[in-house]
Symmetry: C2
């Protein structure tokens, strides 16, 4: 049973473990130690033992973790053991990039629809997934029990797009717009602001300049 109070930092590391374990399993590696996991993830071995113990996954002292067992356990913890239905709201370049990537490369999610307000592109499709008007969101959310929305509309439209999302039972929003969304407390919003991330990187470029 997932622990409701797991820190966000732990949750964010879990899919990293999954990706590494996938690789290991593909290479027929059956057992991995926390030290080896540390080398590939860059997290400390102690951190890894703590993360996994958090959910009751314990390695065998002197041996390590069984890769398949650990992978299954982590998938179950995150909820990746069955596909999650998601939607993409906003089909600009960023929305298309995320839709395509998730349709083709992410086995854990099922992109059921892409929404936009541009009549020119509504009715089209991305890798077989239909681009629909926002008016169809309620119907799609109900039919597929959609739980996650990726939000990639222009910042000025973000709050407007949030309303139909949260009114239709979608409780998790992956917000890639630069807008700060106002949502009720039970809605989980994860903001990734690529502009802010880029701007903070300039700091390191500047440091280099001064060193030269």
């Amino acid at each position: 049973m997932p622990d409701r109070d797991a820190p966000k930092s732990v949750i964010r590391r879990l899919p990293v473990y999954v990706r590494i374990l996938d690789n290991m399993i593909r290479n027929d590696i059956e057992i991995i130690s926390s030290r080896e996991l540390s080398e590939v993830t860059g997290f400390t071995a102690e951190q890894i033992r703590k993360d996994l113990a958090y959910f009751g996954a314990f390695g065998t002292r002197g041996t390590g973790y069984n890769t398949s067992v650990l992978r299954e356990k982590i998938l179950e913890i995150i909820g990746l053991n069955e596909q999650t239905n998601i939607i993409v709201v906003g089909s600009g370049h960023l929305g298309i990039a995320l839709a395509r990537h998730n349709i083709r490369k992410n086995p854990y999610v099922n992109v059921v629809a892409i929404f936009d307000i541009d009549p020119e592109i509504i009715g089209g499709e991305i890798l077989g997934v239909e681009i629909m008007p926002l008016s169809r969101l309620p119907e799609v959310a109900a039919e597929y029990r959609v739980k996650v929305a990726i939000l990639t509309v222009p910042a000025t439209h973000a709050q407007n797009a949030v309303e139909p999302i949260i009114k239709n039972g979608i409780n998790v929003i992956f917000n890639l717009t630069t807008a700060k969304l106002e949502v009720p407390e039970h809605i989980h919003v994860h903001n990734v602001d690529l502009s802010i991330e880029l701007q903070s990187l300039i700091y390191y470029a500047t440091q280099e300049k001064e060193e030269a």
Copy 2:
């Protein structure tokens, strides 16, 4: 003079302050307290005072920070007081999205070129910025003293694209591919893996399901 050892977490918050101060200044707000900054950022007032004191920016007790002075100071700390020349390597949908956004909306950077290996799109342009073959990277990097590369090529091409980047004096890579890059120690790589972020979010969607 910037502090070379500022923690990454502090550096990542700095552009958030800039964005908020920009807004304040547009609205003719001259003074802001750490408490008010806390309300708009979601960071604690204590955290904010610590962040800013780190670089010698102190508010006046009982009054607060002068918004213009604080903004200038933070821009200088990050190195945003003059435009930084950057390139985008990979002009798929994600690369185009980032190129367009930064060309149009980010006053702190100057996108000098976009690189790709696809002969079909080389020679084209995105909002006036040319799409070039990777062979022209050395020339562009030297001419514009490029310091930051946004990397959005397919994961399987990522490491190959890294070589010309770091050989030509670019020391900061914003890596949006899912590949783990191997680089010398003096190269600053910032990884944003949107798949991993999305996967970890499924945890919160699953929690919701169990509550229901």
